[in-house]
């Protein structure tokens, strides 16, 4: 991997690691950063399937929810966090394998709409399986690790997710996913086992979301089918990478920053104004610069210098 991004990343991580100690008075700042890390990790996870492989899923909240509920249930029964979180992740991953079987029989837009159903169906199951999930009243956690620990957990998750994405991008697996995104059938004729590749991407994204769900549960101490399995969560997972740059490594994180910012701004005003804003933003991006913020940055850079040769985007 190139040295320069690695060094910048290391510096950024170091800076972020210091924040809680420097800004210990401002819990709000730590909270916001925590959310950015968490959403960034979630968006990066979604992007593995949606951006790298081009399989846009509107139902990924299902995995977040499974992680959240599994961890909540296990820790409430006395299981150690160190065991509960990985197990939750694997449960989310296992679920993804199961739904992948019918889901990947669908292609393109069909697949995407089908995932809406998957997200919905999972939410309904959680809603009705009251013996396990407590139904609509949700579940609560008695206690949580202190915010600073959560902060570092979220940061670690983000670093892991982005690191994984960066590694995949230039790996053999990454080439398979890119080929699947561009032209699944052509990829098949070149020896790419496309369904296997898609399934692997789905599994990875589900596991990461499973961990994120655990962190979410530990943070809010209350989860309900609507909060973790809700469609608006799934929507957020789609919007963030698109805003930042679908299929790039850092795009989802950039999108997470924008998302968090917009949400905080609109939280005080009308209930659904933020989603409305996202809808408008989504339309604007799709019509004018489908590659999102990173795409816009690319354009500006390209306009500034006259390139001797054109390079394929590789952020």
């Amino acid at each position: 991997m190139a040295a320069k991004p690695l060094v910048s990343a290391a510096i950024a991580i170091a800076a972020l690691a210091v924040v809680p100690f420097v800004a210990s008075g401002s819990e709000y700042a730590i909270e916001v950063l925590f959310l950015i890390f968490l959403y960034g990790a979630m968006a990066t996870a979604w992007n593995l399937l949606g951006g790298f492989a081009g399989q846009v899923s509107f139902g990924h909240a299902a995995f977040l929810g499974i992680g959240a509920y599994a961890t909540t249930i296990m820790t409430s029964s006395g299981v150690s966090l160190w065991l509960a979180v990985p197990v939750s992740a694997l449960l989310a991953g296992a679920y993804s394998l199961v739904i992948g079987i019918p889901a990947f029989r669908l292609r393109g837009p069909y697949f995407s709409i089908g995932t809406i159903g998957i997200g919905e169906a999972t939410r309904l199951i959680a809603l009705n399986w009251t013996s396990l999930t407590g139904g609509a009243s949700g579940l609560t956690l008695a206690s949580a690790p202190p915010l600073v620990q959560q902060y570092f957990a979220a940061l670690a998750l983000l670093v892991a997710a982005v690191g994984l994405a960066a590694w995949i991008r230039t790996s053999r697996f990454g080439y398979a996913l890119a080929a699947v995104r561009q032209d699944t059938d052509a990829a098949e004729t070149l020896g790419v086992a496309t369904t296997v590749a898609k399934t692997q991407a789905l599994f990875l994204s589900a596991c990461i979301l499973g961990v994120a769900g655990s962190v979410y549960a530990l943070h809010y101490l209350f989860i309900s089918p609507d909060s973790v399995f809700g469609f608006s969560t799934s929507i957020a997972l789609v919007i963030m990478p698109i805003i930042g740059g679908l299929g790039t490594v850092t795009g989802p994180l950039i999108g997470a920053v924008v998302y968090t910012f917009i949400r905080e701004q609109f939280a005080a005003t009308l209930a659904n104004a933020d989603l409305l804003a996202f809808g408008v933003l989504l339309i604007a991006i799709v019509v004018f610069e489908p590659r999102g913020i990173l795409g816009i940055a690319d354009r500006i850079r390209g306009a500034r210098k006259k390139p001797a040769r054109v390079e394929a985007t590789d952020a």
Binding site: G54, V56, F58, I101, P102, R105, L106, G108, P109, Y110, S112, I113, G114, I116, G117, I118, E120, A121, L124, I125, L127, N128, R181, F231, I235, V238, I242, L270, A271, N272, A273, L275, L276, F278, G279, V280, L282, I283, V286, V287, P290
Partner: protein, 273 residues
């Protein structure tokens, strides 16, 4: 409403998520016309159909057209964005409170040989069948209808034989959205609604379409019947909130067992391929 979806998809090879949004909007506009202007809900379609046709046509011309040449994901995302805007606009304007239309007509029932039938349901059913027949006739017997089908099958070939593809796409989109709005208007007679209205229905519509095969209206009708039957069974044995799951479970089962959808499999069996 499935027909609108099939039509739009066929011509534009795009699954129109925004359809759900326009369906919901149709219901709300009907309600709004009723409460603010005392327009009888049965007359609302007179306003809705042309209005939504114009909206759909305008949408195609301004936004959809620009993304036709990009990856299919992009058009999907665009229409998803439109749906997001519509739904949340509805939330903002009309709030999330449940709305319903209450008139004598909506409450009316008719006694047919001992069975108490709800008049609005009969009306909606009849209208549904009429629209289906009208649509089928339009697509098969009129020039425009055939132009739409031709464009759906092969845009370039249609262009070569003289079809004004740009105009056709705008019209087809307009028709699809108008149908969605009309559907919403009809449904407002039967159900109370919130801005979330379109989504569950959109899902069912999608299930129907995949079950029945996207390319034939007969297939879609068949899928609709099949799903209605499945749900009929479901009503007896499952708690209310799980009913929406039924269509989905059926879809999953069919997908795993019959990758070509029901109609596709039937066709394949019949021709021995």
């Amino acid at each position: 409403m499935s027909y609108g979806l099939a039509l739009i998809y066929g011509v534009l090879k795009i699954i129109n998520l925004a359809n759900a949004g326009f369906l919901m909007l149709g219901a709300y506009v009907t309600w709004w016309l009723f409460t603010s202007f005392h327009v009888h809900p049965l007359l609302a379609p007179l306003v809705i159909v042309p209005l939504f046709f114009a909206l759909g046509w305008g949408l195609e011309r301004t936004l959809v057209r620009r993304v036709l040449h990009a990856e299919p994901i992009i058009s999907l995302l665009l229409l998803f964005g439109v749906w997001l805007v519509l739904q949340n606009l509805a939330y903002v304007i009309w709030t999330g409170d449940t709305r319903s239309i209450e008139t004598a007509f909506v409450e009316a029932t008719v006694n047919a040989g001992g069975l108490l039938l709800s008049v609005p349901r009969i009306y909606v059913f009849v209208m549904g069948v009429l629209v289906l027949i009208a649509l089928q006739l339009f697509l098969t017997r009129t020039y425009l209808g055939r132009a739409i089908r031709a464009t759906a099958q092969d845009r370039d070939a249609a262009r070569l034989v003289g079809v004004d593809v740009d105009r056709v796409m705008g019209i087809a989109f307009g028709i699809g959205i108008a149908l969605a709005g009309f559907g919403g208007s009809l449904l407002s007679l039967l159900f109370s609604f919130t801005p979330d209205f379109g989504r569950a229905l959109s899902l069912k519509s999608f299930c129907i379409v995949v079950l029945g095969g996207l390319d034939s209206i007969v297939g879609v009708a068949f899928g609709a019947v099949a799903l209605a039957l499945a749900e009929g069974f479901g009503v007896r044995y499952m708690p209310a909130s799980l009913q929406n799951l039924i269509s989905f479970v059926v879809l999953v089962v069919v997908l795993v067992a019959l990758p070509k959808g029901i109609a596709g499999t039937v066709r394949a069996l019949r021709r021995g391929s």
